[in-house]
Symmetry: C2
Subunit: 236 residues, 2 copies
Amino acid sequence: MIRYANESRFVQAVDCIVFGFDGETLKILLIQRGFEPEKGKWSLMGGFVKPNESLEQASTRILKQLTGLDGVYLEQMHTFGDPSRDPMERTISTAYFALIDIHKYEQQLNNDYHPEWFSVKRMPKLIFDQQEMVEMAQRSIRYKAALHPILFELLPKRFTLPQLQILYESVYNTTIDKRNFSKRVLATGLLIKQVEKDKSSSKRGAYYYHLNMQKYYANFQSFLNFIPNPTNLISQ
Amino acid sequence: MIRYANESRFVQAVDCIVFGFDGETLKILLIQRGFEPEKGKWSLMGGFVKPNESLEQASTRILKQLTGLDGVYLEQMHTFGDPSRDPMERTISTAYFALIDIHKYEQQLNNDYHPEWFSVKRMPKLIFDQQEMVEMAQRSIRYKAALHPILFELLPKRFTLPQLQILYESVYNTTIDKRNFSKRVLATGLLIKQVEKDKSSSKRGAYYYHLNMQKYYANFQSFLNFIPNPTNLISQ
DNA sequence: CCAAAAGTGTTCCGTTTACACCCATGT
DNA sequence: ACATGGGTGTAAACGGAACACTTTTGG
């Protein structure tokens, strides 16, 4: 193959910030790194890009390896290329964030990498610049979720309005009036009410809802306002 | 240096989509590529990342080389890593978009690369996947400018309300009521009225304004609404 | 029967929209 | 004096925010 003369070549990595929601707080999935440097330390799920795969393919492959999950919401966030970010050798890393239904994942715990969920508020120190990646990922999902319905990716197929509200409240570390919240959410037409109720957290029970997938995909780019004054909350 | 064994290494590039505004339409700056492959074809301003510079430093350096400009608004957009995007050799490119005052630039035309401005509506074919980069960059600035005051970066230090409105109208390919536009813009407190007028486009003259830089930086993250129904316009 | 969570409606206020006329001035 | 572009105000509609009581039912 003809090649560019005199240019440097670097190792290319991808790192995935995997978010989940357990019904109370936002969590991220970490593994103990399997190789040097920093072997055994907690780290994001990452890996190197192979010669014949795109960055998207690499991140999808790594996510599948480590969680067993396919078809996950995955979005490229930012590429980190500081020359000294990896002490072993110059490595450029493209960070993706992923949003998964934590319960789907829990059925998959049979893997070699022993990933664990950590609350974003109580996380171990991470290697390299991964702390910065996680902070940026949190800002990214706060920003994006203020405008687009991505947080549904964190919920199971059927969910209740109180669950959805707790999710938004925990992502933005705020409280929302439930009357206004349900009005805003239902006004989008994104939700389809089911006849069954979830009785696990109250005697009366809360109706289950499904996402209207048609509208979800069709209006994904529209601006939402489930959250009052989002810009006051995004930068936290 | 200790290195990762068995991993592939790739050439890392940066490409800059440089936007300018000539008072009528949005333009981007292109050069004729100086080396093979595709030598002589129109292309974005790009270059390779050197061993001891970050991606930001590389893009800033390349922008400086090709336009002579420092202190330009520059934002990382997306990293393109398809294995076959560059036929010469696998190259991963991180694309940045830049917003510059086209008039500042015009004083700098004395350089070896002969860059030229093209209307985004009438552009030559670009090499590799750069067409896709430009389209994504247009979507990005439409998206970002619907919420944040980045378009001021395209204007000179002093500008008039009609100029600002034409800028927004051309970015979104729409028309806006001038009464409502000026109310919305002035309500942000971002503009400081000057005593002088611009008489170049009317007999009466239009007042010049300056940006209130304090507020500009302090409230940069706040959501604006200079444009009615932005999401209908972003995806064009 | 009571505690605990779910569900629902109204009023008020601020914001956005639609819309039209007068102003300044160079020719 | 008139053509050209610049500047401004108001009323109506809409959307967002604040706010409290009733319902259900397992224990």
